[in-house]
């Protein structure tokens, strides 16, 4: 194990810990959130943090497969955020 690989492992561990912390903090906001805008925002942040977790998992295992997974998560997250906001704005998703 060289020095560079050691530092990379530490950086990956730190990235995992911060992403999980961010996930927990936004979950607290999701539960507390006084308005529905806050809840949508917290869900959006959680989706983006999950995307980051998948990316870091791909780095740590050295595999390329997780690229498709993260792209799918990004698309689903965007569509679901817009659908939730649209539902509150218009009372309907597709008019």
């Amino acid at each position: 194990m060289t020095e560079a690989a050691d530092i990379m492992n530490i950086a990956i561990a730190i990235a995992f810990v911060t992403l999980v912390l961010g996930q927990i903090l936004s979950m607290v906001r999701l539960v507390l959130g006084p308005t529905s805008g806050d809840r949508i925002l917290a869900l959006d942040t959680m989706v983006i943090n999950a995307l980051g977790l998948v990316v870091v998992l791909g780095i740590s295992q050295g595999v390329q497969i997780y690229f498709e997974v993260s792209l799918l998560i990004a698309m689903l997250g965007f569509v679901s955020t817009v659908a939730l906001a649209r539902f509150i704005l218009r009372g309907d998703i597709i008019e």
Partner: protein, 131 residues
């Protein structure tokens, strides 16, 4: 220092910067005390934080010898969609009057977010007339 070592160090640096932005965004989402202010912090997670993580992934796979530029696709997608979703969430905040709404416009009665378009109003009238 070989090229591979340099790439690994750069990837570790990108990972650290990205996770710093992710953490700052999450703390901002929790600590800010106004719904409109809270929209500001997590958009940085989406663009800079995840962008840096993806850049780190690209640099790392490049230093290992198997170049991949797929991550640019995710980055482009996130950069395009993050402002749109933030805009929608801001519109939700205005619609629910969760924030201090701007003063009423001089001519119209309300902002267009709070209004239903004329075509819909006609349809509603028709429905009411028919029933």
């Amino acid at each position: 220092m070989t090229d591979q070592d340099f790439g690994t160090y750069a990837a570790a640096l990108f990972l650290l910067i990205g996770s710093g932005f992710v953490f700052v965004g999450a703390v901002g989402l929790l600590k800010f005390n106004d719904p409109m202010t809270r929209v500001h912090a997590p958009t940085k997670v989406g663009t800079v934080g995840i962008g840096m993580l993806l850049l780190g992934s690209m640099v790392y796979s490049n230093s290992l010898g198997s170049t991949s530029i797929h991550e640019l696709l995710i980055m482009a997608f996130l950069f395009v969609t993050a402002p749109i979703s933030a805009h929608f969430i801001a519109k939700v905040n205005i619609h629910r009057r969760a924030c201090e709404t701007p003063p009423s416009p001089p001519r119209d009665e309300t902002w267009s977010t709070l209004n239903s378009p004329e075509a819909d109003q006609k349809n509603e009238n028709l429905k009411v007339g028919q029933s």
